[in-house]
């Protein structure tokens, strides 16, 4: 079979981000809380706390936020967080969703950036408003209705990225468990491409299947998984952004691992 998948860049390495910041050729988004950002951040980065985005993540509002951060269609964007890349992923995915095609994740967390002794700053950069166009990418979003019909198809794989105990307790029928912690490696928010491919391939996650990811409530952990899949060369991924919280609220069917007291094995 002919394969036309082109290599997509998912993460940006520290060295190139540093040089691009010096050249002023990228826009960097810090998605931590405002207070943390104000204390210090990667030089020249702008702040978009995840909570601000989530308070209204309609395409129109997202577009406003993007414009106010000085991002237009051509601006390369790098997103970072201090939460193993999950919050950054949710923001990156949202940019992608409204049609921004050049967004990547910083390969590591802000804590690690700092512990390496790299440049930080408390200065808030001046940005001039830009004008981004709207080109909604509905193909990367899964709604509950979509998921309900899609998961009956053989070529659709559903992945639950919450922790294992939560999965055992309750999950969407047919989902497989891939806890978000599995996706990282050492200081990197995502494993190397080769490691990721092997992990997913062992699980039978490969080829042309459509893959839908979900997590607990707002699509952060599953956002990271969305990028993990893409990093392994699996482009046909969708994020069920409202995730398990909505699914339960809608009283759609769930399933649990019966007849075992696995919670009592936890030392928490």
């Amino acid at each position: 079979m002919c394969c036309l998948t082109q290599s997509v860049k998912i993460t940006s390495d520290i060295d190139s981000v540093r040089s691009e910041i010096r050249d002023n050729s990228i826009s960097v988004i810090d998605v931590r809380r405002e207070g943390d950002y104000k204390q210090d951040h990667i030089p020249n980065s702008v702040n978009l706390p995840l909570a601000t985005l989530l308070s209204d993540d309609s395409p129109e509002n997202v577009l406003k936020l993007v414009n106010s951060m000085g991002i237009d269609n051509e601006t390369p964007v790098v997103v970072y967080d201090d939460t193993f890349g999950a919050l950054a992923s949710r923001v990156a995915w949202t940019l992608e969703w409204i049609g921004h095609s050049n967004v990547t994740l910083l390969e590591t967390t802000y804590s690690n950036w700092k512990s390496l002794g790299l440049e930080i700053d408390s200065k808030i950069p001046d940005v001039s408003k830009k004008d981004h166009s709207m080109n909604l990418q509905s193909n990367i979003l899964a709604t509950s209705d979509y998921l309900e019909s899609a998961k009956t198809r053989d070529d659709v794989i559903l992945i639950d990225n919450r922790e294992r105990l939560n999965y055992l307790e309750q999950h969407i029928p047919g989902a497989m468990s891939l806890p978000y912690r599995t996706l990282a490696s050492g200081d990197k928010i995502l494993r190397s491409k080769e490691d990721m491919k092997r992990l997913l391939d062992n699980r039978g996650i490969s080829g042309d299947s459509e893959i839908i990811t979900y997590c607990g409530s707002v699509g952060t952990l599953s956002g990271l998984a969305y990028y993990a899949l893409k990093s392994a060369g699996l482009p046909n991924a969708k994020l069920y952004v409202r995730s398990f919280k909505e699914w339960k609220n809608l009283q759609k069917p769930t399933i649990k691992q019966e007849d075992a007291n696995y919670w009592d094995l936890s030392a928490e």
């Binding site: 390495d13 520290i14 060295d15 540093r18 390496l116 002794g117 790299l118 922790e163 294992r164 105990l165 055992l168 497989m176 468990s177 806890p179 912690r181 599995t182 092997r198 992990l199 062992n202 699980r203 039978g204 691992q257 019966e258 007849d259 075992a260 007291n261 696995y262 919670w263 009592d264 094995l265 936890s266 030392a267 928490e268």
Partner: protein, 602 residues
């Protein structure tokens, strides 16, 4: 300057001496799982393969496995703790579990991820190979070997050499059944008579010079039917250690029962044949082994002493004043070593469970406080941190408090053993695991760990008649089953009294059945009876020992006398009167027994 120039890695002063892993086994396992899922590998062969690699089945599902990582002689290093921490978060439930045989287990692992765990374990030199299945299981050694005041010499190097010799050895790949070695330091810290081969270091004067060797015990073991091991001969010189081990395994391999899975441990062979006949066979076989080795086969015993170096302290943050609970912890969790100024510190975990954060914390604590730079896993689902300088104990205690690892009572009766029970095991009938935790919490609350009359006693709980929880050798032992009142079922335990695992090893005697929700009051009642009837220098253990041996002269003379007093406590109430009675610990639905297929004998 680029970031790669900045990356620095911490180097531990002490690294594992032995690499137990083989990375190619990860690839092989991944490939075999794929073939199995494609139906190209039959169920029985796959199960044997999986077990040989240390992946055990999980309760009521074939999607998950438990990976049992071996810690030969119990040794575990900081980097290994950190790796296990990471693996528990990535592939398991965010916690890991210490077993009673110096393994650390990851439960609820997706079968397809097992090979990824093997790959990561190999990075730190660990393996789960032959941790399950019909092979030589993890070779244990007393956590006090090398520091015990009563030992003749340190048996750790011999345990490691034995583990190394048999791991992946063709002669140990298809035994009739699993085969276990326990090395110890002295009689008191025992466990040598409850295992296929148990060894106590011994020194004899031969022709005016000191000769190292062992007292070897054969054919013991706990299970559905338990037996106490027999001593092979007065003294087995160290040169004969390997020949003896090979001889015993060859006899077991040849004569062990390969058909009757329920009776194929070596202890049944010894019992059926009679000890004297078995003993003769071993001695003859050993002569043959010794004479016919084409190349001289030797154990590679590395007796180079470990470097003992007290880690540098920048400053003592406690300012010298001890936090609350320190005296209690010092008394119930630490032991003076034979090396002056040093203590071994035992860290007790609830039924062996430890979180990923605590695993990381232990790595730091070892680096900061252990002068030997590693830890040892113990016999009772715990961890020993040895070579802690007396002057560092207060700051170590403060540090352990921060990570929730400072529970007192580690060396007392307040830390019961609980097998995994219905939390993950296919055979379990009750939640023995949670019961052990409930007892520990209650007894610490009552400060029973500070009661010196109780320190040398033990409580051990299994979730079924098999003996993973070692109930048979407990002062107070329990194994799980189902009880019934009319049509209503409840979790019920058979209680035995008077088991021991020291120089006077014996199995406990059956007393009566105790419903799960009555176990705590029943133990407390036994303690009360003991206090009323004890002699001045009695401990609970010595008092019960006299009762089970018919040599007690006070009011309570027999197990039956105890039983009569306890009987009113175990009468089941009706479901309407006490609905909670009918729920096992950790469960909010009515109790019913449900089991799957066991794999101990697969």
């Amino acid at each position: 300057m680029t970031v790669s120039d900045l990356t620095h890695s911490s180097i531990d002063p002490v690294s594992p001496k032995i690499n137990w892993a083989r990375i190619d086994e990860a690839d092989n396992f991944a490939e075999t799982v794929k073939l199995y899922r494609q139906g190209k590998y039959d169920e029985a062969s796959f199960r044997r393969f999986r077990l040989q690699h240390g992946a055990y089945g999980t309760r009521m599902t074939s999607d998950y496995a438990m990976v049992r990582v071996k810690l030969p002689a119990g040794e575990i290093y900081p980097k290994q703790f950190e790796k296990l921490s990471q693996l528990s978060e990535q592939y398991s439930i965010g916690s890991a579990h210490f077993s009673t045989r110096e393994n650390i287990q990851l439960h609820w692992v997706i079968l397809e991820d097992v090979s990824e765990i093997f790959r990561s374990l190999a990075e730190v030199g660990l393996t789960s190979r032959e941790a399950c299945g019909n092979s030589v299981r993890n070779v244990m050694c007393s956590p006090l070997s090398g520091v015990c005041c009563d030992e003749k010499f340190d048996s750790t190097p011999y345990a490691l050499a034995t583990a190394k010799f048999f791991l992946r050895n063709p002669m140990a790949q298809s035994l009739p059944r699993k085969f276990k070695f326990n090395f110890t330091c002295c009689e008191k810290h025992g466990m040598v008579r409850m295992v296929d081969v148990g060894l106590i270091p011994e020194i004899q004067q031969i022709d005016g010079s000191e000769q190292k060797g062992f007292k070897i015990f054969l054919g013991g073991g706990l299970g559905n039917k338990s037996f106490v091991g027999h001593q092979l001969e007065d003294f087995t010189p160290e040169e004969d250690l390997l020949y003896t081990s090979i001889a015993v395994m060859r006899i077991f391999d040849r004569l062990g029962d390969r058909k009757n899975l329920a009776r194929n441990r070596m202890r049944y062979l010894v019992n059926d044949m009679g000890w004297e006949k078995f003993q003769n066979l071993v001695l003859k076989e050993r002569a043959i082994v010794r004479a016919t080795q084409s190349v001289v086969t030797r154990l590679k015993v590395d007796t180079t002493p470990n470097k003992i170096k007290r880690p540098l302290k920048i400053s003592d943050e406690t300012g010298g004043s001890a936090p609350d609970g320190y005296a209690r912890w010092l008394k119930t969790n630490t032991i003076k070593q034979k090396q002056s100024d040093y203590r071994s510190v035992f860290i007790t975990l609830e039924a062996g469970d430890i979180t990923s954060n605590q695993l990381n914390a232990l790595a730091d604590v070892i680096r900061e406080f252990s002068s030997e730079g590693m830890a040892r896993s113990g016999f009772v689902q715990n961890v020993a941190l040895r070579y802690v300088h007396e002057d560092d104990l207060i700051s170590l205690y403060s540090k352990l408090i921060q990570s929730g690892l400072a529970k007192s009572g580690a060396l007392t009766m307040t830390t019961p053993i609980g097998c995994s029970g219905t939390t993950s095991c296919n055979l379990a009938l009750t939640n023995s695991h949670r019961l052990a935790k409930e007892i520990q919490r209650k007894f610490l609350e009552l400060h029973l760990d500070e009661d010196e009359d109780l320190t040398d006693s033990s409580i051990k709980i299994s979730g079924c008649p098999n003996s993973c929880g070692q109930h048979g050798i407990a002062t107070i032992g329990f194994f799980g089953g189902g009880g019934r009142l009319g049509k209503d079922m409840y979790a019920n335990y058979q209680m035995s009294l008077g088991g021991r695992f020291d120089g006077e090893t014996m199995l406990g005697q059956t007393c009566l059945r105790v419903p799960a929700k009555r176990v705590i009051p029943v133990i407390l009642k036994i303690i009360e009876l003991f206090k009323e009837n004890k002699k001045s220098d009695d401990t609970l253990k010595s008092w019960i020992h006299r009762i089970v041996n018919d040599s007690e002269d006070s009011e309570i003379k027999s197990i039956n006398d105890i039983k009569k007093i306890l009987e009113p406590l175990v009468v089941p109430p009706t479901k309407d009167d006490d609905p909670d009675f009918y729920l096992d610990y950790g469960s909010d639905t009515s109790y019913h027994t449900k089991t799957g297929k066991g794999e101990c004998a697969a």
